[in-house]
């Protein structure tokens, strides 16, 4: 009798186990191999990573090159090719210890000589060469130690050299002597360069001798412990958004750098496609000209701020993928300044705007809103804003032009009053890049502000973190009070991949390391 009961329960348990195993999704073990194609809109203007800020270049070059320090998942500064660093008490000497045994794609080991040559090249031709302007000399006490001397204290020096905007990539010393776009594309990254066909694609292949950073458990932002699984990664340039979405649907491409919200809504029902939301991606901002026309008057700028209804603008400009936040750093990050300036955000108050216009003595002078037709969100934000501003009596002249024209126009001190832009990587990487828009001789509001300069100087030079945070909070308050720029909100994007692409995590570039086919 006991045996019969035991057999029955064993049978039930076995059936149950089989049922559980049959219905549970199998664990997706990493699988090496396969080719993946990523579609992006634009082709890179250059693959010489030091020379360009373009996203289209960064998508590719951050797979091929690495830097001394880089940014983690939330923008925190993390070591990559450096083991660690230390600063002298006066913040004028920075010592970097390098990881040993890191290989370039040509088989050579990376040493201090390569780092020194790369930094010196960047100081000469790098797109953000001014970041290395304080460097007075670089010493190499041994092959794996680099000592950088500065002619003034720069507490944020490691932050600055970790920027992925136009990254200070480390290349072989023998390449570093070459001019812009003349280098062989040899880096230390998990994938190496194979081929570039302009207007068509860039092809990379796995670097089998890649030395991952063992100090990390796994990938972290642009760095961490990176493991390349694909045999090849091809970045294909497809200008038309609908065609990119179609290519993903048919499986001709397996990942998209960015998917239009309207296409994402359509593809949500496709079981072969997975969507990944990145929020926030960028700030959507209007910059105002405090030097010319009606926007020279603070009351007028306040009127513009009061008239704008951010929710309506962002809904249309972003097809609904946005959030309303006022701060010039992202919530949850180190320098987020809380509610500073929130009382002046998204006022959407036409009556207040009209009152302020009256106080400003506005007599209907033209208000030139210059926008570009290259980015849908810029164009749409401007169209909606112009209608809101016209509704309160502002004589808006909407000027739509292509990208180079708008850049050239807004660099002039006169001839424009407001322009839209979305800024992504600068606020993401911290306050230093954000403050550069409003300080220095070439500030975007065309009007130097001593208080902003002082706050930025404190941010750049204060050794204590709390002082730097206070400086940025004061900076944000001044910026918002003076209405040099109006932050509309944060916009998001969708990235997408085929459903058989495992472990994809959305980030500032479509990362093809620690990703594999199921």
């Amino acid at each position: 009798m006991k045996r019969k009961i035991g057999c029955r329960w064993f049978g039930i348990a076995s059936v149950g186990a089989v049922a559980i195993l049959a219905t549970s999704p199998p664990a997706s073990a990493q699988q090496r191999g396969g080719d993946i194609t990523v579609a992006q809109q634009a082709q890179p203007p250059s693959l010489d990573a030091m020379t360009t800020f373009a996203q289209a270049a960064r998508n590719i070059t951050m797979h091929v090159f690495e830097t001394l320090y880089t940014r983690g998942e939330t923008g925190a500064v993390i070591p990559e090719l450096a083991l660690d660093s230390s600063a002298s008490p006066d913040q004028k000497t920075f010592t970097f210890h390098l990881r040993k045994g890191v290989k370039f794609h040509n088989g050579k080991e990376m040493t201090g000589a390569d780092v020194k040559a790369s930094l010196e090249r960047y100081a000469e031709i790098g797109a953000s060469a001014q970041l290395l302007a304080p460097v007075s000399g670089i010493d190499l006490p041994d092959p794996y130690t680099v000592v950088v001397h500065l002619n003034q204290p720069v507490p944020g020096f490691v932050d600055e050299i970790s920027t992925p905007r136009a990254p200070m990539v480390i290349i072989p010393a023998e390449e570093a002597g070459k001019g812009p776009n003349k280098i062989a594309l040899i880096g230390t990254g998990p994938y190496q360069f194979v081929d570039y066909k302009p207007d068509s694609y860039v092809k990379l292949k796995r670097f089998d001798d890649y030395v991952p950073n063992a100090r990390f458990q796994g990938p972290d932002g642009f760095g961490g412990k990176k493991t390349p699984y694909f045999d090849t990664v091809t970045f294909r340039f497809m200008p038309e958004s609908g065609a990119r979405a179609a290519a993903l649907q048919t499986g001709e491409v397996q990942a998209l750098e960015q998917l239009a919200v309207t296409d994402a809504d359509r593809l949500k029902a496709d079981p072969n496609v997975k969507l990944y939301e990145m929020m926030p991606w960028a700030f959507q901002v209007f910059f105002l000209n405090a030097n010319d026309g009606p926007t020279k008057n603070l009351k007028f700028r306040q009127a513009v701020n009061a008239a704008l209804g951010n929710e309506e603008i962002m809904t249309i400009a972003t097809d609904g993928l946005f959030r309303l936040t006022h701060g010039w750093q992202h919530p949850g990050t180190e320098y987020f300044a809380g509610d500073v300036g929130k009382d002046k955000y998204n006022l959407n108050n036409p009556e207040l705007a009209k009152q302020l216009l009256k106080e400003a003595g506005y007599k209907g002078e033209p208000f030139t809103l210059v926008t570009d037709n290259s980015f849908k969100n810029d164009n749409d934000a401007s169209v909606v804003a112009s209608q809101q501003l016209q509704a309160v009596g502002i004589n808006v002249k909407l000027q739509v032009a292509d990208w180079p024209t708008t850049i050239a126009t807004r660099q002039k001190p006169t001839g424009w009053n407001m322009f839209p832009i979305f800024i992504g990587i600068e606020p993401w990487e911290g306050p230093y890049s954000t403050t550069t828009f409003f300080t220095g001789k070439e500030n975007w509001q065309q009007h130097p502000d001593e208080e902003l300069e002082a706050d930025a100087a404190k941010l750049n030079s204060s050794p204590a973190l709390d002082d730097r945070k206070a400086a940025f909070a004061a900076f944000q308050k001044r910026l918002i009070d003076q209405v040099y720029a109006i932050k509309l909100g944060d916009l998001g994007i969708y990235q997408a991949a085929r459903a058989n692409v495992a472990n994809y995590k959305p980030f500032r570039i479509p990362r093809m390391w620690d990703v594999w086919y199921k």
Partner: protein, 315 residues
């Protein structure tokens, strides 16, 4: 005939010079330069100035123009500011792509334009005539950009018959070339096919009413001889005129189709260069397009002479 060619070539030189000068003036008038492309959306003015100096863009446009003409005299079209290669290499890589796409579209235009126009003329006032002309009108009216996208969704996504884009060279794989160029060539050809069909129909109707056609029918000649030998040959001149214009439109229309289907052709190269202010590529591209159009015009003139003995004897 040699005189005709020499005269056309001689008159082409000032035309090409004028075209390139106008192009320089237009670029000079339009604000912006290639630094904006390298810099990205949020570069500071200082960063832009640095890039500008690296690229030599801090020189006035007229000095850049002088350098370009000086190099041109040595057969050098210069270096692209953004592609990292010579303009000549960039154009030569892409010219066969655009020519093959345009050529395929031209074949479609010729076959279906003349064919359907002929059928419509022969079946005048019948439902076939109405259907053909209605289709031609629709083809003329639809924007090729929209048509390209619709074709992708129907034939690539829904039916899976063709790829969504890209280009395979004929030399690499004839089948791959056919697969990657069919949809774009059809989208490109549709407008000109409609135009040619309507032109063919109206010209043929005029010719079919002539005495010599009536005589040919009266002699009992087979229909295909009457149509192919007597009627169609006599509409060759107006059709050639439309074709010459169509080739130009197909070549320039390739820009939009190349963008929709991600085809690395000359059209996309030039339009990207304009949008990015890559001055050497703009100048080189404009020159090549000019040379191409001059060649097309010479070819059309030669074909006039081939088809029309009166033109032959005049020259």
């Amino acid at each position: 005939m040699a005189n005709l060619i020499l005269r056309r070539l001689a008159s082409a030189l000032p035309v090409l010079l004028l075209v390139s000068l106008i192009s320089f003036v237009l670029i000079w008038l339009v604000p912006g330069d290639a630094a904006a492309e390298l810099a990205g959306p949020s570069a500071s003015a200082e960063e832009l100035a640095h890039i500008r100096a690296d690229l030599g863009l801090d020189q006035p446009v007229w000095i850049q123009a002088l350098h370009w003409y000086r190099n041109l005299l040595h057969g050098d079209l210069g270096q692209s500011l953004l592609l990292g290669r010579s303009v000549a290499a960039a154009i030569l890589e892409r010219l066969p792509v655009t020519l093959s796409l345009t050529g395929f579209a031209l074949v479609i235009t010729l076959l279906f334009g003349i064919g359907s126009g002929t059928i419509a003329a022969l079946k005048r006032n019948s439902w076939i005539d109405q259907a053909v002309m209605m289709t031609a009108l629709v083809g003329l009216s639809l924007p090729d950009f929209w048509l390209g996208l619709v074709a992708i969704y129907v034939f690539s996504v829904a039916l899976g018959w063709f790829p969504t884009g890209g280009f395979v060279a004929f030399g690499d794989s004839p089948l791959g070339w056919l697969q990657t160029t069919t949809l774009p060539a059809v989208a490109l050809a549709l407008t000109q096919t409609g135009l040619l069909a309507r032109m063919t129909r109206s010209s043929l109707l005029e010719v079919l009413g002539q005495d010599y056609i009536r005589t040919a029918w009266a002699k009992g000649l087979p229909g295909r001889i009457v149509i192919l030998k007597h009627a169609l040959l006599n509409i060759a001149v107006p059709v050639l005129t439309v074709l010459g214009i169509s080739i130009g439109i197909l070549f320039s229309g390739a820009v939009v189709i190349e963008s929709v289907f991600a085809i690395p052709g000359v059209g996309r190269l030039i339009i990207d260069a304009v949008l990015r202010r890559d001055l050497p590529v703009i100048q080189g591209g404009v020159l090549i397009v000019g040379v191409f159009m001059v060649a097309v015009n010479i070819a059309v003139d030669l074909l006039y002479a081939a088809f029309d003995p009166r033109v032959r004897h005049e020259h």
